[in-house]
Amino acid sequence: MSILIIGLSLSFLLFLLAAGLTLIFGMLGVINFAHGALYMLGAYICYQVVTMTGSFWIGLLVAPLVVALLGALMEMTALRRVYDRDHIYQLLLTFGFILVIDELTKVIWGLDYKQVPTPALFAQPVELFGSMIPSYRLFVIGFGAAVSLALFLLLDRSKWGIVIRAASADADMAQALGIDVSRVRTAVFALGAGLAAIGGAVTAPLVPIELGMGFSIIIDCFIVVIIGGLGNIRGAILASLLIGMARAAGYTYATEWVELITFALLIGTLMFRPAGLFSVKGRTA
C-alpha cells in the first residue's frame, strides 16, 4: 500500500514539474526549452529566501512571483518578436535563454551546492500502512492536487480561462473582439514560468540544489507533455499519474529499468495513439 502513496507523490511532483510547460505549449504553441532553467531558478530563489527568512513557505510564495516576473520580461523583450514566424524560432529563443539563465544563476550563487531543509511542519515521517512515509511527500500530494484543481478551474471555468482560450484558438478574432491578445500572452507565459518555479521550490527540500538540476528534468517534462496529449492539462495530470505509478512499481521490482519503463510508456503511446493518450480534440485545459 505504501507504494501507492509514494507513487502518488512521484506523480504529483512530476505534474508540478510539467504543468508550466504544458500550459505554455497548450495556450501559446511554444515549446519552452527554458522550462528546466526556470525550474532551477525557482529552487535557487527558494533557497535564498529560506536562508534570509528561515521560512520555506515564504520561499514557496516568493520564488514563483519572481520567476513569473522574469517570464513576463522574457516574453515582452524577445518571444513577442517572433510569434509571427515559424514555431522553430520560438523554440530557439527559449533555447538561448537556457544559456543566459544558467550563467546568471552561476554568477549569483556560484558553483557550491545549496540545500533547503525540510520544512519543520513536515519534517517527521508518519506511519501509514505499515511504512514510514515522509510527511513532506504527503504535502506534495496535497499541494499538487490543489495546483491542478486551481489550474483546471482557472482555465476551464473562469472568465479568464475563456479569454485565454479565445486568444489561443484565434488570436486575430480575439483581438477584433477587444481582447488584448499580447497582454494575455504575456500573462500566460508568466504563469507558466511561475509554475516552473513552483515545481523548483517544491522539489528544493528533496534534492541538492545545483546548476545541472534543470537539465535533468526537461526530458521527463517532455514525456509527460507528449503522453498527455500536447498542451492538455487534464492529460498532463493523467500522464503524470501513469508515469509516477509505473515508476513506483519499477523502483519496487526492477530498479535498474526505471528509466526505460518511462520510455516504453512513451513509445507505446506513440505507436497506438500518436496524438497522446489523453488528447481531446483541439487544445483545451
Binding site: L10, L111, Q115, P117, P125, T255, V258
Partner: protein, 394 residues
Amino acid sequence: MKRRQFLHTAGAAALATALPAPMLRAANAPEDFHIAAILAFSGAYGLIGKDMRLGAELAAAQRGGKVLGKTIRFSWEDDETKPQPAVQKATRLLSGGANMIFGAVGSASTLALQSLATQRKIPQLVTISADDVITKPGGSRYSFRTSNTLGMEVKMCMEFVKLSGLKRIYAVTADYQATRDGFEQFRTMAEAAGVEIVGNDYAPLGNRDYSVIIDKMANSDADGIIVVATGNDGVTFVKQAGQVGLGKDRTIFGPVLQDETFAAATGDAALGVYSGVRYHFSTDNPANKAFVEAYRAANNVYPSSFAGEAYDGLSWWFDVIESTDSWDVETWVDAFEDSVRENSIEGRKEMRACDHQATQVGLFGKVVRGEAPLPPLTMQITSVFPPEALFAAC
C-alpha cells in the same frame, strides 16, 4: 605563432559574416613548463575543479612558480564534466606543446585523456578520479595516480563493517560500471566475512527519487546501508533517507558518500553518516599543518579533499621532475615510477611501478557538527587504515 595567424584569417571570415571578430591571443612563450589542466569547472563536478585549482596553484606558488628553472604555466580548461570536451581541449593544448596533463575530474574524462596521453607520450597526473581501471598492472606508461582508488575505499567500507559489527547490509548502487564493480567487490568480501547482503538496488545515475528504495530498506531487517554512489546521487539519497529517519536505527555509510562539501549540500540529514575520506585537513603531521595554514591564509577556508589531493599530487610530481634535472619525458616517468613520498600531507605515499598507483593510508570518518571556524557540518576521522589492508600486491 601559427595559431595567431590563423586567427587573423578566421577573424576576417567572422567579420565578413558581421559577427564580432575573435580577439587575438598572446603567443606562447616557448620556455615555460606548460600544464594542460583539464578539470571540471561546470557540470556535475564543477565545484571540484575550482578547489583543485586552488590546491594546484598553491603547489606551484610554494616553489616560486618555477620547476627546472622555468615558469610553471597552467592552462585551465573546463571539460564541463564531459569526456568529449576534455579530449578536444587537451588535443588542442598538446598540439600547442603542453608538457603534461593534469586531470581530469570525472573518471570517464580521465580515461579518455589517458588514451590521449599514452598515444602522445605525455605524462598525465590524476589526483581525484577513483575508477580502478585508471591504474591497472600493465596499464598506461604515462599515467600516474596519487589519490585513492574506489577499490581501496570499498575495502575501507568492509573494514568498517567488521569494526562496527554490522551483520546485514542493504545496498544501493549507481548504475555505472565503476560503482557496479565496486558493489560486486563488496559483495564478495561480505560473503567471505559472513556478512549478509539482504538487498541491492541499482539506481540510474542522476536518480532524483529514492523514496521507494528507502521504503524497502526501512522494511528490511538490515542494520547497515551501503551507498555505492557519489556526488548528487549520494547527497540526494542521504537527504531523502533523513526524511524518514532511516539512519536512526541503521548505519548509513559508503566509499565516497560524504565530506564537508557534500554534507553542506545535504544538511542535517548527513549527521552520523559514515564515509571514506580522501584527504582531511585534520590529519596530524607537520607537512599537512603547514599546508592547511598556507591554504587558509590564501583562501580563508579549510582545504577540501579535492584541494588537498591536487596539492599533494602536484607537489610530489614537481619535486620528482626537479630531481631528474632533465626535460626528457621518459626520464620523468622512470623517476616517478620508483618514487616514495615520506612527508606527504597524508603521510607516507609510495608510487608503485607496476600500476602507477600510489599506496597510502585510508581515512574513514563520520559527519558531525563543527564549531567555527570549522564548517557547520564536518568530518570526524574515526579510523585510519594502513596501506597493507587496502592494497593487494600487483
